[in-house]
């Protein structure tokens, strides 16, 4: 079935500057002629035998294959709701709206009032316009719907004048989600800061009041207040470093960094904490100078520090935290290294990549792996670990000192370094976090 019965070109080139929203239609048109490899006029030149038919099928095939949902709508008069019909819906549109390729009533496909209005404007006002559209289904998706009038009025079977419009959907789900995350982030950050602040103010009040002359209570309160103040400053430090990292996430790091040295440094600074907790380190590191990566030394230190700190923090006393560095891996090798995925899955956990690098030309990575014998986590927590402020509920240790920002910071730094990040964990089997970074090209 041809889309258009009129003698005008099957997919007429939109005349420019009809309206501001014209640009997308022009682009779509360009895409389509790109798909066809030649303009419709040239099709006519090159194929003298039944050119219109061939062009029509080609154009239809192109519309059909377009990844964006696309509709052609026909209408008779403004107050005839049943006169508005979808004469063509491409594969993507059929899936989105659950309609047949042609013949569906417009209102039974789309009820959204703004979308109907935009389509009406094209049909009866000859104006191209657009609106956001959320189909309200379980999977949250956000579309931008653009409608444009199509030239060439025709007549329907019973002789009525018909008008036509092209309706195009583009997916804007990701952009909307990012915006939402920003808003939530601000709300969460202020909430997290307010809790310790409220407790500080409360204690100040008490110290001024009935605890004024009670030295024992005063000491106790001051100790709590110190803890709260420390918590606030940790939060602010983490927030500031997160915002700094985000700011230059797109700028590749300069400098070089020896991972072996970094791990040794971090292990040294954490010794007091491990001694206090009764946790041992088991370090398996290559010689100095062998685990070199291109990277910002301070940021890499932050990554290693956060991972080892978590491992120690979320482990009971008497256990061992193993830190290992492996060089000369491909990205696939890094993802699969020492996988214990099946056992983890069987115990209710799993193995998950939290960040995968884009394929780099020299596929060589150095991996740092931190494995603990702590309580481990259920599978459902794993994808959310690098979310800001996400904390697994019900863990005994660590709750008081965590900010929930550590792994978010880790992920951003690793991403800036074009590296990857993995987690493997299950209740009772402990947790393993691994990050891997590209090795610098061997040139000079």
């Amino acid at each position: 079935m041809p889309l258009f019965q009129s003698p005008s070109p099957v997919f007429p080139a939109p005349s420019s500057a009809r309206s501001p929203a014209r640009g997308w239609l022009q682009r779509l048109y360009d895409d389509l002629t790109g798909v066809l490899g030649r303009s419709p006029e040239r099709v006519v030149d090159a194929a003298p035998i039944a050119p219109a038919v061939e062009a029509a099928t080609l154009q239809e095939a192109a519309l059909e294959a377009l990844p964006d949902p696309l509709l052609l709508v026909e209408a008779t008069e403004p107050n005839d709701l049943t006169g508005r019909r979808i004469t063509f819906a491409n594969a993507a549109a059929r899936e989105l709206l659950r309609i047949p390729a042609s013949g569906a009533l417009l209102v039974s496909a789309i009820r959204h009032p703004e979308v109907l209005e935009v389509i009406d404007e094209s049909l009866f006002g000859a104006i191209a316009s657009e609106t956001p559209y959320e189909p309200r289904s379980a999977q949250e998706r956000v579309w931008r719907v653009r409608a444009a009038p199509l030239p060439g009025q025709g007549r329907s079977a019973d002789g009525e004048v018909t008008r036509r419009a092209l309706v195009h959907f583009s997916d804007e789900t990701d952009a909307r989600r990012a915006e939402r995350m920003r808003v939530d982030f601000l709300a969460n950050a202020s909430h997290e800061l307010r809790t310790p602040l409220a407790s500080l103010s409360g204690f100040i009040e008490t110290l001024r009041g009935h605890a004024k002359d009670d030295p024992q209570a005063r000491d106790q309160f001051l100790r709590i207040m110190t803890t709260q103040a420390e918590r606030m400053s940790r939060l602010i430090d983490d927030l500031m470093s997160l915002s700094r990292i985000e700011l230059n996430e797109h700028i590749p790091p300069s400098g070089a960094c020896d991972l072996t040295l970094t791990v040794l440094d971090v292990a040294d600074t954490l010794r007091p904490m491990t001694a206090e907790k009764g946790v041992k380190f088991d370090l398996k590191l290559p010689k100095r100078g062998e685990a070199l990566i291109a990277g910002d030394r301070d940021q890499i230190t932050q990554v290693v520090q956060n991972l080892i700190d978590n491992a120690v923090k979320y482990s009971p006393s008497g256990t061992t935290v193993a830190v290992e560095i492996v060089t000369g891996l491909t990205s696939e090798g890094a993802t699969a290294y020492a996988s214990n995925a099946q056992a983890m899955a069987a115990a209710g956990g799993g193995r998950l990549s939290l960040l995968t690098p884009d394929r780099a030309a020299p596929d060589a990575y150095v991996l740092v792996r931190v494995a603990d014998q702590g309580a481990g986590m259920l599978r459902e927590h794993l994808p959310r670990l690098s979310e800001r402020f996400y904390r697994v509920e019900g863990q005994k240790s660590g709750a008081s000192t965590g900010t929930g920002l550590g792994l978010a910071i880790v992920k951003h730094i690793v991403n800036r370094h074009r590296g990857g990040m993995l987690v493997e964990s299950a209740p009772g089997l402990g947790s393993t976090f691994a990050v891997y970074f590209p090795t610098p090209a061997r040139s000079g």
Binding site: T82, L105, V107, R111, H112, E114, S137, A138, N188
Partner: protein
């Protein structure tokens, strides 16, 4: 040549289709009202809340139009059997949609109060989640109506319980919050009203599914509504009716 009778039949079919299209369009407006009212609560958007309250009149008008049309069709064309059921179903549906719209208006009014109080972000997110669920059910019910999809209608009807369970758990969450911090009581109470309104909208969606079933089969769905009953929420919420 068509006989006079065939003419009438064809004519009635077209009128009925037009009527159903109008109900579908009204359904779209109601969905938008519900979605916007939930968003007004979630985003503390006073302007949007006022918009929702203002738009409610349009729904009332649409409902009256549909009812008039349906009554005229019944009186002039005297349809029988399925044609009659369809006409009546369209009219009943418009009543239901109009009342759903009222609930959205109520939510929007609460949003105005909530926007003035301290933000309770995690709770607001829970209410928003319940809102999304209810909205999805309303969409499914209306989709079922426009596509005459009995399976989908049954799905909506059977999942009636989900909304109730959501309401119940939200109710507990709100209570815990209020008890741990009495300063939040009035804001929490507003959210509780919103949850109650949402639960009603869920009921209306179930009604729509039942009407569709009746329209197509001429029979009521057999069996009780699979609804949640009992528990502490059930007693207290009567007080908010």
């Amino acid at each position: 040549m068509m006989t006079a009778n065939e003419h009438t039949l064809k004519f009635f079919g077209e009128e009925l289709q037009q009527l159903k299209a109008e109900v579908a369009r009204m359904g779209g407006l109601v969905e938008a009202q519900v979605a916007d009212s939930i968003r007004a609560v979630a985003m503390r958007d006073v302007g949007l809340a006022q918009l929702v309250v203002g738009r409610d009149q349009k729904l009332d008008q649409l409902q009256i139009d549909i009812e008039k049309k349906a009554i005229r069709m019944i009186a002039l064309r005297q349809p029988v059997a399925q044609d009659l059921r369809r006409t009546v179903a369209a009219m009943k549906l418009s009543w239901n949609l109009e009342r759903t719209g009222d609930q959205a208006k109520n939510i929007a009014k609460r949003a105005l109060v909530i926007a003035d109080a301290e933000p309770l972000t995690p709770l607001t997110r829970s209410v928003e989640r319940m809102g999304k669920l209810v909205l999805a059910r309303l969409k499914d019910a209306l989709d079922a109506y426009t596509n005459l999809d009995l399976d989908q209608a049954m799905g909506v009807w059977q999942k009636d319980q989900e909304v109730d369970e959501h309401y119940n758990s939200l109710f507990r969450e709100l209570l815990t919050y209020m008890m741990s911090d009495p300063r939040t009581i009035s804001a929490c109470a507003q959210l509780l009203f919103v949850a109650k309104n949402l639960e009603r909208i869920g009921d209306h969606a179930t009604n729509v599914a039942e009407m569709l079933y009746y329209e197509v089969t001429g029979e009521e769905i057999v069996g009780d509504r699979p609804r949640w009953n009992g528990g502490e929420g059930a007693d207290v919420d009567r007080g908010f009716a």
